[in-house]
Symmetry: C2
Subunit: 185 residues, 2 copies
């Protein structure tokens, strides 16, 4: 950050009263510009023993399979963001009321927090790959190898646990952190 | 947003390929500036039947009582942010490993997501009001009236449920949304 987004004046890192961190503040209009981690919302949509996955058309990890996921937009709830990603990437319309929190992952080194919701699909859905996907499908555990997954950190590097939970329908919210000062997986 | 934070060029709302929303893009250097909701992290720290609350020294709601809470900073995990707020506002050092997710609230109308963590304190703590607090204390349910609370939306407007959960030590993660296109409380 070099310039003020409101007045185009130069910004500099300044110490503020009652604030332990230096902040970018405009030298002209004095506006303070805070930087904060961003939220990525993902979606585990499953039918019987299969999970909705999208083969990525974009880098990073083009060609690998991932849960539908993306940045939450202004004006959205978390659940709306999860449902929008499933619709944009796979043409799937989800019932917002049936989304449940699945996991919560802090990635402090890249200033992101990933929140994943789960939903059991009431019937075999019709899917349609959106522009960010080469292909979309409901896949079984055995359909993918470890190296076929993009961002498996999103699942705690444990796709095997996800499929086990879906089989048993026993879920618990997994909250963890990768990177930063303390690493607890 | 009027100017590019990297080159000070004027920005305008533009349609991008593969993007359903218009974005602020710099007319000079073409950088796209995304706007996203911010994360507020709060902390329910309790000892026996009392919860740590801070009487706010700042507006809004100066003089009312709130959980320690604030925006997550770059480079922090959610738990680190919750612990930092408890330390800054009340002088309380928390064990990160013992923080558990308590609730998750989307506030799409103000582009915030509030995440609250809970922790049982192992002993009666020594508290010290930070610069953002007029006073800090462990309070019982009967110590506050409804109108004494700031941001009780943070607790689903249900401080009574919080105290009930602390008494019974039975918690479940409450995920909900207030405002936006759909309201589900």
């Amino acid at each position: 950050m070099r310039y003020c987004s409101e007045c185009a004046g130069a910004v500099s890192l300044q110490s503020l009263e009652y604030d332990s961190r230096k902040r970018y503040r405009c030298n002209t209009c004095s506006r303070v510009h805070y930087l904060n981690p961003k939220i990525v919302v993902g979606c585990v949509a499953y039918f019987e023993d299969r999970v909705l996955l999208c083969r990525r058309a974009l880098e990073p990890d083009r060609g690998l399979w991932a849960l539908p996921a993306g940045f939450i937009e202004e004006g959205e709830s978390l659940e709306e963001a999860a449902a929008r990603e499933a619709e944009e990437e796979a043409g799937l319309k989800l019932d917002l009321q049936r989304l449940e929190l699945y996991s919560l992952l802090s990635l402090p080194d890249i200033n992101q927090v990933w929140m994943t919701f789960r939903i059991e699909l009431p019937r075999e859905p019709t899917l349609r790959a959106g522009p960010e996907s080469l292909e979309v499908a409901l896949l079984r555990e055995g359909d993918l190898k470890v190296n076929d997954w993009a961002f498996s950190v999103h699942l705690g590097n444990r796709p095997v646990v996800l499929f086990e939970q879906i089989r048993t329908k026993r879920f618990s919210v997994h909250t963890w952190s990768v990177g930063g000062k303390k690493t607890a997986v």
